[in-house]
Every structure is written in C-alpha cells, then in structure tokens.
C-alpha cells in the first residue's frame, strides 16, 4: 500500500507542531523518521493513522484521500498501552478475530518471536518495561497489517533483543511486503531497516533532509558503508541543532 502526505500541518492551541510535511512511500517501502524530541514525529504518525484528524493538508493511502481510521494499519505506540485488565495473551490477540484456538496459536507464535513464551498468563502490572513493549509489538504484528506505523518500538530494549526484533520486523516485511513508517532515535536501526530516512528539524517540525538508501535488505550491521552514512547523518543533525538557520533539502544516495 502506498502512502502520501502533502503539506501536512498541525497546530495545538495555536502552537504549530508540524509544518508542511510532505513525503511519499511506495508500497512495501520502509521510511524512517529521525528528529529531535518534540519535533512532531508522533504527530505525523497519529495523522496517518487517522487518530488525529485536525491537521491541515492531505494524506492519501493507496491514492485515496483519507481522514479517519483506516483499515489494516498497525500502530506500535510510543508507550506500550497494554490493556491492564487483559493478560499478555489476551493483549496480544486483542485485534484478532476468528476461532479462539487459531487466535491462541497465532498469539503463541508471536509471543515466542518476541521472546515471551511462557509469560502469556502475566498481567501488565507484572511485566518489566521492555517486556510490556514487546507485548505491544507482538500485538501490532500479529494482525499482519498492510501499513505499519512504529513509534520508537525498540527504545526500551537491550541491544540484543533489539537486534532480534529488527530481524523479526524484516522477516515480516519480506513475507508481507508491509509498508512501514518507523520513528526512531537509533541511527543504526534506521540504516539497517529503512529504504529512506527523513530527518525532521525544529519546532514546528519540517523535513530538513531526505536520505535514500538503495542497498537491498537484509543488510550487514556495522558495515563500513553504514558507518560513513551514520557520520553524515550525525553531521546533519548536529548542524541543525547548532543553529536555527535554514538548511536546503539535500538528497543523499548510497
């Protein structure tokens, strides 16, 4: 499913949060959003998901202009947002329909993928921060959505669990060709997963740079190519932070 934003802006009580955000993803593309805290990344995801409809501009999904909740969008929120009255298994299978036994099997599969087998009976209050986040990830993935919005999905996880889940995400991507928009603070992660990286800047956030990564996935972690790119991205970020002067959109191609 393709996705396009045209000059999307949003203000909260008179304070603009994002300004004229435009980008387009092809079907099956993974787009990364990088940017400083508070620059409007979550606001963009909420607008795409249809949870926030008070934006200005145009969002089209599969060439159809939309406003409001769309079918088959999965959203991994910035916080786990587990339903406290459901246990792990019930939380994971929350969005599934169909026979109970099938739901359970799918739930178990995904719980295993996120490293939480045997934990299905626990309630949210009994989970550690990272475990809760992993349950939330499983909940979003288990429905196999066609578009997946991920808001810092792995930030609460240790390096290795993180890598494992990045691999999981890629395997899902290669199976379903899911279109993804990934908000992350981890440049390595963005470089490992994304086909394109948008760097947002300022408050209100605007797109300050767009980096297209053409290397096919799965990629090698920590390759020399990546390292150069990372340095470059860091530089862009640093530049922005340094001063508030306008930066022309640059296109990097690897």
């Amino acid at each position: 499913m393709s996705l396009e934003l045209k000059e999307v802006s949003r203000t909260f009580n008179g304070t603009p949060a994002i300004n004229n955000i435009s980008f387009r993803t092809k079907s099956g593309e993974i787009v990364g959003l990088l940017g400083t805290s508070g620059c409007g990344k979550s606001t963009i995801l909420r607008s795409i998901a249809g949870l926030d409809t008070r934006y200005y501009g145009e969002i089209t999904i599969n060439q159809k202009r939309t406003k409001g909740i769309q079918a088959s969008i999965g959203y991994i929120f910035q916080e786990p947002r587990l339903l406290p009255w459901l246990n792990v298994m019930e939380n994971v299978t929350f969005g599934l329909t169909g026979k109970k036994i099938n739901k359970k099997q799918r739930g178990l599969d995904y719980l295993k993928s996120v490293g939480l087998s045997q934990k299905e009976k626990l309630y949210p209050k009994q989970l550690s921060g990272g475990m809760a986040q992993r349950v939330a990830i499983a909940r979003a993935l288990v429905t196999s959505p066609e578009i997946l919005l991920l808001d810092e999905p792995f930030s609460a996880l240790d390096a290795f669990t993180k890598m494992q889940l990045q691999d999981l995400l890629l395997s899902i991507w290669s199976k379903y060709q899911t279109t993804m928009v990934l908000v992350t603070h981890d440049i390595d992660e963005a470089l490992f997963l994304c086909d394109r990286i948008l760097i947002l800047r300022g408050q209100p956030g605007t797109v300050s740079a767009e980096i297209v990564l053409e290397q096919s996935k799965p990629r090698l972690r920590g390759s020399q190519e990546m390292a150069t790119l990372k340095a470059e991205i860091l530089e862009i970020l640093q530049l922005e932070r340094g001063e508030e002067k306008s930066i022309q959109e640059k296109r990097y191609t690897v």
Binding site: S9, N13, G14, N20, K125, P204
Partner: protein, 276 residues
Amino acid sequence: MSKVSEEVINWDKNKFKRNKSFLSYEVIWMGSIIPILLLIVWEVLSRFGYFPTYLLPAPTTVVDTIINLAEDGSLWGHVGITLYRVFAGFFLGTAAALMLGGLVGLYRKAELLFDPLIQAFRAIPSLAWVPLFILWMGIGEVSKITMISVGVFFPVYLNIISGITGVDRKLIEVGKMNRLSTFQLVRRIILPASLPSFLTGLRSGLGLGWMFVVAAELMGASQGLGYLLIAGQNTLSPETILASILLFAFIGKGTDWILKKLESRTLHWQDRIVKS
C-alpha cells in the same frame, strides 16, 4: 514562521471561538427540548381532562402555585431554609466521608474495623432514621442537618474509597520517593488522583442530600421544600406537591450544575477522548 502556519493558527482560534458561543446556545437549546415537550404533553393531557385536575393539575396551575408562593413571600423561606439545611448537611456529610473514607481507604485496620458497619448502615432508609434521630437529637436544626449529612455521607464515602484504591501505584511511588508524609501523600497525590471519583461521589451525595430533606423535614419543620411536599400530601393539594417537586428539580439541578462546573474546571487535565 511561514505564512501557512500563521493561517493555521488563526483558523484554529476562530474555530475555537465559534464553537464556544455556539456551544452555550446549543447546550441550553438542546437541554430544553425534552423538558418542554414533556410539559406540553402534560398540559395538553390535563386540559383535555385525561388527568383529573384534583390529582395532577396542569403545569400552568403548578407554576401559578409557585408564583403565588413567591408573591406572598413564603417561597423564599421554604427555599432558603432547605438550601441552608442541604448545604450544612452536605458539608458535614462530606467532611465525615472524607475522614472515614480516607482512613478506610488507606489503612487495612481501619477498613476491617469500620467498613462492615458502615456498609450495613448504608441500606437503612431515611425514614427509618427519623424516630431515632428525634430521640437522640430532638427536633431542632441539629437533627435535620445530621439527617441530611447521613444521606450525603454514603455515596461520597464509597466513591472516595473506590477512588483511593484505584490510584495508580506508580504515582504513589513518585510521592514516596519525594519523601511525602502520609498526610502529604493524601493531599498531593491520592486526593487529586481520585478527584474524578470523589467529584462523582459529591454529586451523588448532593442528590441524596436533597432526597433526605423530606425525612429531615418530617422532624418538626414548618418551612422548607420537604415540608411543602409533606404538607401537600397531608392536605391533599397536588398542586403543592407538584410545586415542591418542580422546585426540588430546579434547585437540585442548579446545585448540581455548580458541582458539574467545578468538575470540568478541576478535571481539565484528564486525557479524555473528544466526544462525537
């Protein structure tokens, strides 16, 4: 800031303003539809003799009765004294509920000691208290106000406890890490966090306070809305009964409105969904 974003701001502000004035107009208008419809149906049915007037006089007759009461000045006496009793009882009952509810909500010992008894008292009807209250406190204002405070007490108490037990452990821990004493913990964390529940309790309690007015004013009152109601029943004048019901409804609604405003003022921080 670009031109577009400035536009965005203005648009947002305008929408906000328009909504506001539109709202208060709409609120009153839509809130009146059903009551007015009911009144019209009632009036018509009375006019056509479907309800015999000596049982259920037309609304106009009832309003006439209220106007007469207002003209000869006795209305203000009735309303005033009842308002005074309800408010006094409301404060007393709320204070008691706060104290006991706080204790029971916070300490297991207090819960074990007091809660069973209080829960048992909760089912006793207001009328049942009347002879006991007359016995213990005579028929002065004290017994009347206490009676009303009994009514107010229970819902406030229940809601306080439910509010306290529902406070997120995570927030209480924040307080603990800031070395708050139990009292400070209550005042600075538990009370605000359980405020939604507490306010619902207050509103429920105020409603019950109004209901207990009748039992209170059975205890030797010669003025008040409850008195008016009972007198209407004893002298078989349905227009007086209905006048008192109408007054109960209006003034009860008025006092509730105050609490509702308070609620929306103090709970603005709640992260709620906007209703469609």
